[in-house]
């Protein structure tokens, strides 16, 4: 019985519950959010240190209490080399999200001090994110199948609200798609878990993993593996079950995207390492070729989709599908090398994509749009620091040797080169070749994007959206655009002058923007090219007031530097992570 895992769940939960009390606005709220998430992060570090000093083998920091005996549901928590890095990643990213949110300055889309209808909204965001953290950390800590499922589900509702309330324009549809899709996945997962229970009579992951599938016939294992696999694959996501992901990532606010890509996707892949493969080895062996095939299709599909994207956040979302393809390919090999690759890739992707989404969010906030053509190039000249960070994150993501992204992909390919005995080697060699093509394509789309965004001559297209709003009144999108513009105006001017006529509003904003220094002829020209869809509105630009967008702020830097450091660390010293995962992987696979 160890108190650390319990505390890791109790602290964010208590922090969330405390927010139900009517106190604390602004500064106090920020302090609260930072303290709670900071303490949780510190606890995860304590857990890591304790585990490593305790020899780094087996399950550490175990807590096992009966919760619902009628259901055989035990409150069984613990960490090992597989879950520990993910736990630390989760608490770190949550903490960094709060750091990012707490930055001061003018009103942004999702920052804490100023929300739309008052401070209640900011409190609600902190509350939701803390609840989300409970679910995420709990999923990685759980050692009981049903408990895992419960935490797996805890995540859904908070993430739904993060997207549905703080998201972009199409947020409601995206959030609904997200929750329905992932819930369908998780009920299938539940049926699969209950199959395991019906076959073996226990829900304890540790003893189930030690049994290596004893007690279940091969057909039962295959059935259970397919059910569990489908449930996890929706979350991961695996092609062709990925369709919820681009919409959710694009519409979610920055912190939502960061946590979605950085942690939530990992819950799916973690499930493969923790449940599906060790508990159902025969099922895994039977389904692995299919898993591998879907994985490499996902790699290629993600890359091709990325090449076709105009929206920066959407492109990063599709790149996640590609990277998760590598992770799933690693699992499909069923070798220690492959599993290590997958677990390493998990962490690397969490760090890199979180950084990418942070930077993309910052860009969207400054430019008012994440549309790549509308960004107009030349970012290295205008915002050198931000553009450098974007470049760094892209290179990390495309797998440049020396950065964290490299090892996950390389080891996955290596695993596919020599798959587990019983799997068809030629087939996996084919997978390896296809995935290799995928790495090239990955490099291609990132470089294309960088050349369009960071290089070239800076052009003034920033104010284009606002004019579009005025130019295209009458269409429904314009109505929405004007609505957004109006919100921006509210942020700038304290007085609320709400008229029913959308046109009047839009014109007002345009006047204001022009007064703010935008040359009228430039905006007029750009108005034709921009579409109504890219009207993220001029919040960031208007808020700055000076007409010049600001480069990286101190808060942003504080949130991002740890990620950069870790990407470098794991890129240069992969053994730091692999030495943790390797012994556990061997015991999970039952190999010496």
């Amino acid at each position: 019985m160890s108190w650390v895992p319990v505390a890791m769940l109790a602290v964010p939960l208590a922090g969330a519950v405390a927010l139900l009390m009517p106190y604390g606005r602004g500064r106090l709220l920020r302090a609260h959010a930072l303290t709670v998430s900071g303490v949780t992060f510190a606890l995860s570090l304590v857990a890591a240190v304790t585990y490593v000093r305790g020899g780094a083998t087996g399950i550490g920091l175990e807590t096992d209490l009966a919760w619902v005996p009628w259901l055989n549901l035990r409150f069984h928590l613990g960490v090992d080399g597989v879950s520990l890095p993910l736990v630390v990643l989760t608490t770190l990213l949550t903490f960094l999200c709060f750091v990012y949110l707490c930055r001061g300055g003018a009103g942004g889309t999702d920052r804490l001090p100023r929300g739309r209808p008052g401070p209640e909204r900011a409190r609600a965001l902190v509350f939701t994110l803390l609840l989300l953290e409970v679910g995420m950390v709990g999923t990685f800590l759980a050692l009981d199948l049903l408990l895992f499922f419960v935490f797996f589900e805890v995540v859904l509702v908070p993430m739904y609200f993060v997207i549905a309330i703080w998201g972009g324009r199409a947020r409601r549809a995206a959030a609904t798609k997200f929750i329905l899709y992932t819930l369908l996945g998780s009920v299938v997962l539940l049926i699969g878990l209950l199959f395991v229970w019906a076959g073996t009579g226990t829900l304890d992951m540790v003893s189930l993993a030690a049994a290596h599938g004893a007690g279940m016939s091969r057909p039962a294992q295959i059935l259970a593996f397919v059910a569990i696999g489908v449930g996890l694959a929706v979350k991961a996501p695996m092609w062709p079950l990925h369709t919820w992901l681009p919409a959710a990532h694009t519409e979610a606010p920055t912190v939502g995207s960061v946590l979605l890509a950085g942690v939530l996707l990992k819950m799916g892949t973690y499930g493969f390492a923790r449940i599906a493969i060790p508990i159902l080895p025969e099922g895994a062996a039977a389904v692995a070729p299919w898993l591998g095939a879907f994985a490499v299709i996902g790699v290629i599909y993600g890359c091709l989709a990325c090449l076709a994207q105009r929206d920066l956040k959407r492109m990063i979302a599709y790149s996640s599908i590609g990277h998760m393809g590598f992770v799933l390919l690693g699992f499909a090999t069923l070798t220690p090398v492959g599993l290590n690759a997958a677990l390493f890739g998990n962490i690397a992707h969490g760090l890199i994509t979180a950084l990418l989404f942070f930077v993309a969010g910052a860009i969207k906030e400054r430019y008012g749009t994440a549309d790549i053509p509308a960004l107009g190039g030349g970012m290295l000249a205008r915002l050198p620091h931000l553009a450098s960070l974007l470049t760094f994150a892209c290179f990390a993501s495309l797998g440049l040797p020396g950065l964290a992204g490299f090892w996950g992909e390389m080891l996955a390919l290596l695993g596919a080169f020599d798959p587990a005995p019983g799997l068809s080697r030629p087939l996996f060699l084919l997978f390896m070749v296809v995935a290799g093509v995928g790495t090239v394509l990955t490099a291609a789309y990132f470089l294309v994007m960088l050349s369009r965004v960071t290089h070239g001559r800076p052009t003034e297209t920033v104010h284009a959206p606002l004019l579009t709003a005025a130019g295209a009144t009458g269409t429904p999108e314009a109505g929405e655009a004007a609505q957004e513009a109006r919100e921006a105006q509210e942020a700038m001017v304290a007085a609320e002058r709400v008229t029913e006529k959308v046109t009047a509003d839009a014109e007002q904003v345009v006047e204001e923007t022009m007064a703010g220094g935008g040359p009228p002829d430039t905006t007029a020209r750009a108005g034709g090219s921009g579409s109504a869809g890219e009207t993220g509105s001029g919040r960031g630009t208007g808020g700055a007031g000076s007409g010049r967008t600001r480069d990286v702020t101190a808060h942003e830097l504080a949130a991002w530097v740890p990620l950069v450091a870790l990407i470098l660390l794991f890129g240069l010293w992969p053994k730091a992570l692999l030495s943790l995962t390797d012994p556990v992987v061997h015991s999970l696979l039952g190999t010496p």
């Binding site: 619902v68 009628w70 679910g135 499922f149 609904t176 709400v498």
Partner: protein, 598 residues
């Protein structure tokens, strides 16, 4: 012969019936003063609480189940062909796995006579559920009655009558008492529905409910009479025994001989009750299996009406919407629980050996019920109507484990019912609160509820998530897991898949509603909704059209009766939270709950 009555056993329904009479008398003879109305409420509440106290007292005593209205000693020569029975058929008398087995094991041993009224775990769970739900309904109706539209005495009298039936029904162990108790639950509800005079919708609802209920009663009675005709007994335990023997007879060498042995003894029993049947047993016994099948289907259909199972669900939407909100809550929880209690008693206790006849239809009905209920709920814009269809869907989830046909599965059904009762009552309580502000009670009236009412909004969201079965509504999640587990473990995986898909469909409308609660109302719209409202549907509900103060003060429009609803919401929130955090509390109470772990 003189029956000795165990008054402790019959105390809960007795107290309720006496309270009903008292309320009626007080209403008739007390002067019309302002204090009378709250006083009647308090008397009602005291009656329900006393009955609940007796239930708790009965639950806390240990030992044998309480039995009364038993067949006297001299008449207990139950039909027995014990040597012909394979040993596995007979339930053991030592430690039965569930109370249903207790009831079924009665007459074989000869020690326990057949009784019409038995208080065991099963009875206590359902009685406790009905009374706890009754408290919430009484609290909700206090708010409703505050408007003065509805005659208070009659209302409480009818409410107490329904509760009497709901408490007596799970204790009933013979067909006649079962039907009488079921009618006692149903009949007052028509009147309650239509008690709001000059309200067209309510009258329509009352008539619909009446017709449907009468038809279903007739169908049930027909099935019951066939059962009686086929077996010659009305006591459920004897019924079970006769049917078991029928099933066992063909296994004995020389089936004709064995049947010949068995039936005269059956006649011996029935002789004491009805000599009329004597005639039919003089001739060689006919093959009764087809008659039994018809009887089973008819009884099933009758109860399917009560629990609003597809294809007998069509009345739910209109009736729930037309009835006052407390009555809708009563219909969806108390009436439904009574229906399920009867269904479980007849199917599992009496017809347990005929499971192969009723198992597949029950599975099919469950699958249809959840699917149709969810699909209908998807398109609803009216809050109560949505809850009506959602409760149809939930009926499907409750019905599903019955198709597995063992005691643990029955326990899963009951568990789901108990969890569902708490969450559904909570949702209705908040709906009641909102209906006082926005009488039309459409889903759009809930926009921004969390900002107007920081307690009720999140509470409703919590209940909806419970109903959807998603954390933080862990109660609902556990309930669903219990059911899923029985389905997967019991080999009806196809039903589990149907239920999985349905859970997702259900989530859509629950979450869409929950999201509305947290979406700020469009500027000016919240006022507009209130003031533009045509007051057709519910003239009695106090609205605040001329209250310009704004959102926070809108509740002030009907200060009267505000407190009981809040208490009801608080109660249900606490119960739902307890169910979420420590579901074992309720799971321990369930019959068959001890032996679930396989």
């Amino acid at each position: 012969m003189i029956q000795s009555i165990d008054y402790f056993a019959v105390a809960p329904p007795l107290v309720l019936a006496l309270a009903a009479g008292l309320v009626l008398l007080l209403d008739a003879f007390l002067p019309r003063r302002p204090y009378v109305r709250p006083m009647l409420c308090v008397v009602t509440l005291a009656g329900v609480l006393t009955a609940l106290g007796f239930v708790v007292a009965q639950a806390s005593r240990s030992g044998e189940a309480l039995r009364t209205f038993c067949v006297p000693e001299g008449l207990t020569t139950a039909p027995r062909i014990v040597p012909a029975l394979p040993p596995g058929v007979r339930p053991t008398t030592g430690k039965p796995t569930g109370t249903i087995a207790v009831a079924a094991s009665g007459p074989e041993t000869g020690a326990v006579p057949s009784c019409s009224f038995v208080v065991d775990d099963f009875t206590l769970v359902f009685a406790g559920l009905a009374l706890a739900a009754g408290i919430v309904v009484v609290l909700l109706s206090m708010t409703l009655l505050a408007s003065g539209e509805i005659p208070v005495g009659e209302w409480h009298f009818l409410l107490l009558c329904t509760l009497t039936g709901a408490v007596a029904l799970p204790a009933s162990r013979d067909l006649i008492m079962l039907v009488v108790a079921l009618e006692l639950v149903s009949l007052p509800v028509f009147a309650l529905t239509g008690l709001r005079r000059h309200d067209g919708r309510a009258s329509e609802a009352a008539v619909k409910l009446f017709l449907v209920s009468v038809v279903s009663t007739a169908v049930t009675l027909f099935g019951v009479s066939l059962l009686y005709g086929a077996t010659g007994t009305v006591h459920l335990d004897r019924l079970a025994q006769v049917l078991r023997e029928r099933a066992a007879v063909p296994a004995v060498p020389g089936p004709g001989q064995a049947a010949g042995d068995a039936l005269p003894q059956v006649t011996g029993t029935t002789e004491a009750y009805v000599s009329a049947l004597h005639l039919s047993y003089d001739s060689p016994p006919p093959d009764l299996s087809s008659v039994l099948a018809v009887a089973v289907v008819l009884v099933l259909a009758g109860f399917a009406f009560k629990v609003a199972a597809v294809p007998f669900h069509a009345w739910a939407g209109d009736v729930y919407q037309g009835a006052p909100v407390p009555v809708a809550a009563l219909l969806s929880v108390i009436s439904k629980a009574a229906g399920f209690a009867g269904l479980i008693l007849i199917l599992v206790t009496a017809l347990g050996s005929e499971a192969s006849t009723w198992g597949p239809p029950v599975a099919l009905v469950a699958a249809l019920t959840m699917t149709v209920g969810n699909l209908l709920a998807l398109r609803q814009r009216h809050a109560v109507r949505l809850l009506a269809w959602s409760s149809v869907a939930q009926s499907g989830y409750i019905l599903a484990p019955l198709a597995v046909r063992d005691d643990e599965a029955t326990g899963a059904s009951i568990a789901y019912l108990v969890f569902y009762a708490a969450m559904n009552l909570g949702a209705f309580a908040v709906v009641m609160l909102v209906s006082r502000r926005a009488a039309r009670n459409e889903l759009d009236d809930y926009r921004g509820l969390a900002f107007r009412d920081p307690a009720a909004g999140p509470a409703l969201a919590f209940f909806l998530l419970c109903l959807a079965g998603l954390p933080p509504g862990l109660a609902g999640l556990f309930a669903k897991i219990v059911v899923f587990r029985e389905l997967v473990g019991g080999g009806v995986a196809w039903l589990a898949v149907v239920m999985a898909v349905n859970t997702v469909i259900g989530l859509y409308y629950y979450v869409a509603w929950a999201a509305r609660i947290f979406t700020p109302a469009p500027r000016g719209a919240s006022q507009g909704v209130v003031s533009d409202m045509p007051d057709i549907s519910a003239p009695g509900v106090v609205t605040a059209p001329e209250n310009p103060v704004g959102s926070g003060e809108e509740t002030g429009g009907g200060r009267r009766g505000w407190l009981p609803v809040v208490v009801a919401i608080g109660l249900t929130v606490v119960v739902a939270l307890v169910f979420s955090v420590a579901p074992q509390v309720v799971l321990d109470l369930l019959p068959g709950g001890s032996g679930i772990g396989r």
